[in-house]
């Protein structure tokens, strides 16, 4: 009976109590006092598909990869590039040859020194078709990389050469101002040659076998549950690493993830359920971090057939009739930035371009939209009937409904909404069986080119079928340019050409949303949403 009473009392209490709160000030009296146990639990979204850095493709495995491995270049918490295994480097005058000096004290987790030969081996392995890497294109600025990926040249033709144990030379096909940033990507990591070769490349990434050169080494890999990392005692900067154990948890269900965070089982989440945003803002505002993200949400138009083929006026009319403020303030509502250009404003090596109507009021834009719609040959009697495709997800549906309503209200367009499961959607989109399709593009590296390239007429990523020789020409000029200012100019001009032709309708720029416990120190949001556990600390709580 006593127990039952206690239970009922607890339930009553539960009904009116809030979540767990830390006892005493976080970080002790000084505010910086560390917790005794330095163990962090991080929500990591889906399962990592592999821990092999050269086969990695998703965000979950990239996150773990930054803890396990260190590239020649690393990223500071704010996203700045800092020396990784390379302690210094030089670039030739023409911007095509980089020479890296490696740290003398860089070590693998078994104590072996990390050598230039390991990077040479790693990058060759990365572009070798036999490795079955899907992200090897990251290395494509390197001499011969594309030909090797295509199977036309052997992997040792790659322009990467170990001059001696501590000197690595990389030759590029073209000057590439964002090249150093690419060297933070897992496709460029070194792997421990002896263990990879001993296993025939088969299972060297298993716990107990994986030898890594980052701040951590692999301890457990439980599919659908977690990856546990422990500190690598041989890491060159091990003294500066505070957290001893890192758990990267699989948190596919974002509602469950939030509950685990509220129960104190997670120190950081991967994301938040959008439907809970207002609850979080009210109840746990201090735990919520929102920051700009290198991503663009847009509606692509299929230019290979009517109605959008050769009908610029119609494309522009649809773009102008969308009230982006309503979408970002009332639908997505997490602080997304209304997009009047294609490339996110905080992108590196970039000077933003916007559609000329960006400065107008929405009324002015709508008036112009009506004029263009009529010019395109449509009217109330002869309205445009169009199909809008999106992949099945609530946020996409809500945006599609709103856009369809705006198009109907302003122009009288009759939109039918079609949703498809992700892979079906990709299939439909890639085969150009669309009219309007929703899409998002997240930059692979922090440079305007990662956005610019997908609309190149020859790109496999071009799903609109848009081809503009002027755009391609400007991209080619930018690729060959060593002067950063001039290059930014070319890219800006290219974006203007794109926005003038409007093969895609920018809607908003993404933000990252994440819950972080107040006792996690050292976390800074950055535009790539990259962080390393070695920069974090757990404060006393």
């Amino acid at each position: 009976m006593k127990r039952v009473t206690a239970f009922c009392a607890a339930l009553l209490l539960a009904a009116c109590s809030t979540d767990y709160q830390a006892v005493g000030p976080i970080g002790g009296e000084s505010g910086t006092e560390l917790a005794e146990r330095q163990v962090i639990h991080i929500g990591n979204g889906a399962d990592p598909q592999t821990l092999d850095p050269h086969r990695a493709q998703g965000v979950p495995e990239s996150n773990i990869g930054r803890d396990l491995f260190e590239g020649l270049i690393a990223e500071a918490p704010n996203g700045d590039l800092i020396p990784g295994v390379a302690e210094s480097w030089e670039m030739s005058e023409d911007g095509k040859v980089y020479t890296f000096k490696l740290r003398e004290n860089a070590r693998w987790s078994n104590g072996d020194p990390v050598t230039a030969g390991d990077f040479e081996f790693g990058m060759r392995r990365s572009v070798d078709p036999a490795t079955l890497s899907v992200y090897s294109f990251i290395l494509s600025p390197i001499e011969n990389a594309d030909a090797i990926i295509a199977g036309e040249l052997p992997p040792d033709a790659l322009g990467v050469k170990a001059i001696d144990d501590r000197t690595l030379e990389i030759r590029l096909a073209n000057p590439t101002p964002y090249f150093l940033g690419l060297l933070t990507h897992s496709a460029s990591y070194a792997v421990h040659r002896a263990s990879v070769e001993a296993s025939g490349g088969e299972d060297y990434w298993r716990p107990g076998k994986l030898i890594s050169n980052g701040a951590y080494q692999l301890d457990e890999f439980v599919v659908q549950s977690h990856v546990k990392l422990v500190k690598n005692p041989h890491y060159w900067n091990a003294d500066a690493v505070t957290i001893d154990e890192v758990y990267w948890h699989v948190t596919e269900d974002i509602n469950a993830e939030l509950k685990r965070f509220r129960a104190g089982e997670l120190d950081m989440t991967y994301t938040i359920p959008k439907s809970q945003l207002s609850w979080i803002r009210q109840n746990m505002p201090d735990h919520l971090l929102i920051a700009p993200y290198l991503g663009s949400y847009y509606y692509g138009l299929n230019l290979t057939k009517p109605p959008f083929k050769d009908n610029k006026a119609l494309r522009r009319a649809l773009a102008l009739a969308i009230d982006r403020d309503i979408i970002t303030k009332q639908i997505t509502a997490a602080g997304e930035i209304p997009a009047y250009g294609w490339i996110p404003p905080q992108t590196a090596n970039y000077r933003g371009a916007q559609m000329p109507e960006a400065e107008w009021t929405q009324e002015e834009r709508e008036a112009e939209a009506k004029r263009l719609y009529a010019q395109a040959g449509y009217s109330a009697e002869n309205p445009l009937r169009v199909e809008l495709l999106y992949n099945t997800q609530d946020d996409h549906r809500r945006i599609a409904v709103a856009v369809a309503a705006m198009w109907r209200q302003v122009l009288g367009v009759e939109t039918s909404l079609v949703n498809q499961e992700w892979k079906v959607y990709l299939d439909t989109r890639n085969q150009f069986r669309t009219q309007v399709f929703r899409a998002g593009w997240i930059g692979d590296y922090n440079d305007a080119y990662t956005f610019a390239e997908i609309q190149h007429s020859k790109s496999e990523l071009n799903n609109t079928g848009w081809a503009n020789p002027e755009y391609d020409r400007l991209l080619a000029l930018a690729s060959a340019e060593t002067d950063l200012d001039k290059r930014a100019d070319y890219l800006q001009q290219a974006e203007r050409v794109l926005l003038e032709d409007m093969p895609l309708i920018p809607i908003y720029f993404y933000v990252t949303t994440r819950m972080v416990q107040p006792w996690v120190a050292g976390y800074e949001a950055n535009i790539m949403d990259h962080f390393r556990s070695q920069d974090l600390k757990i404060l006393k709580h």
Partner: protein
């Protein structure tokens, strides 16, 4: 009995073959493939991948190769989990699902049968109505509502139990309860219904006339025949519960094999989906067979030859 068992086992082979063929070709009919992603792959890279996974061969050849593999117990490499074979994934996931599912089914059986029998004995009285109301609620509230409520109360507000998975006993409590609740509800209703029927039958009346105590009548004479419908329900239910519940695994982050069904299909992980389908199919066949054997033991009227 032995001949019957052998016949049943032989009959399982064509059933499994049909299942494998259906699953194989339906999976391939679905639009989109395992290598489709937001960033389309360069043509050469995709061709390499297709060749490595032998997707470039004619479909009938792939099917024959797959069947050959299954015979050797080799379900092939997973398309999505690139570091694992499907056999490995099932071998690590199934013990977890089994542990949770078997505990849940046992719990459901004990609680469900007890509650159902009590309700039957107190038919149309307060206890009966209470048990049936609770079990009706149990059936009606879906897992994906019940599990978050359990987490909210016991993990977030009370902080008695963890919300996620960690492999310990404490981690098992909430998922087991969430898994067992609907089963308890169903089993108690089944038990109640058949118990009421059995209690009205002639042999029970005879037992009563002989002056046996209610306790003896229920436990010794009525329970066994009353369990028949429960047992036939239990076969497929056990197979379903021990192969993991997608919802429960997702919500509690349990590393079982239930999620493989859905994630595998969404990722077009052909081999993984096939692997769990074959595994699940074989389990269902095995459990139905066990149910039939249990029937022979429970019901003297059932004889196999």
């Amino acid at each position: 009995m032995l001949r019957y068992s052998l016949r049943r086992l032989l009959a399982a082979i064509p059933t499994l073959l049909v299942l494998i063929a259906l699953a194989f070709f339906m999976m391939r009919l679905a639009p989109g493939g395992p290598f489709d992603q937001e960033r389309s792959l360069p043509v050469e890279v995709e061709a390499n991948l297709r060749a490595a996974y032998r997707l470039d061969e004619p479909l009938y050849l792939q099917f024959a190769r797959y069947l050959g593999g299954v015979l050797r117990g080799d379900f092939g490499p997973s398309f999505h989990y690139r570091d694992f074979t499907v056999t490995e994934l099932i071998a690590t996931g199934f013990p977890v699902s089994f542990k949770l599912g078997a505990t849940a089914i046992l719990l459901a059986l004990v609680v469900g049968v007890t509650a159902g029998s009590i309700a039957a004995l107190r038919q149309n009285r307060v206890t009966d109505h209470a048990v049936m109301t609770v079990s009706m609620t149990g059936i009606s509230i879906p897992n994906f509502v019940m599990a978050p409520i359990l987490i909210l109360v016991f993990a977030i507000y009370l902080r008695w139990l963890p919300a996620g998975w960690g492999g310990s006993l404490r981690n098992m409590v909430l998922p087991v309860i969430a898994l067992a609740l609907p089963q308890i509800a169903y089993i108690s209703r089944l038990t109640r219904g058949s118990m009421i029927e059995v209690l009205r039958s002639n042999f029970i009346r005879t037992a009563k006339a002989q002056g046996l105590s209610t306790r003896t009548i229920v436990l010794k004479h009525a329970l066994k025949p009353a369990l028949l419908p429960v047992v036939s329900y239990l076969g497929p239910a056990t197979a379903a519960v021990i192969t993991g519940s997608v919802v429960i695994e997702q919500i509690f982050g349990v590393p079982g094999i239930g999620r493989f069904f859905v994630q595998g299909a969404l990722n077009r992980d052909y081999t993984l989906v096939m692997g769990v389908v074959v595994f699940y199919g074989a389990l269902i066949i095995a459990f139905n067979f066990l149910v039939d054997l249990a029937y022979a033991w429970l019901d003297p009227k059932v004889k196999y030859s």
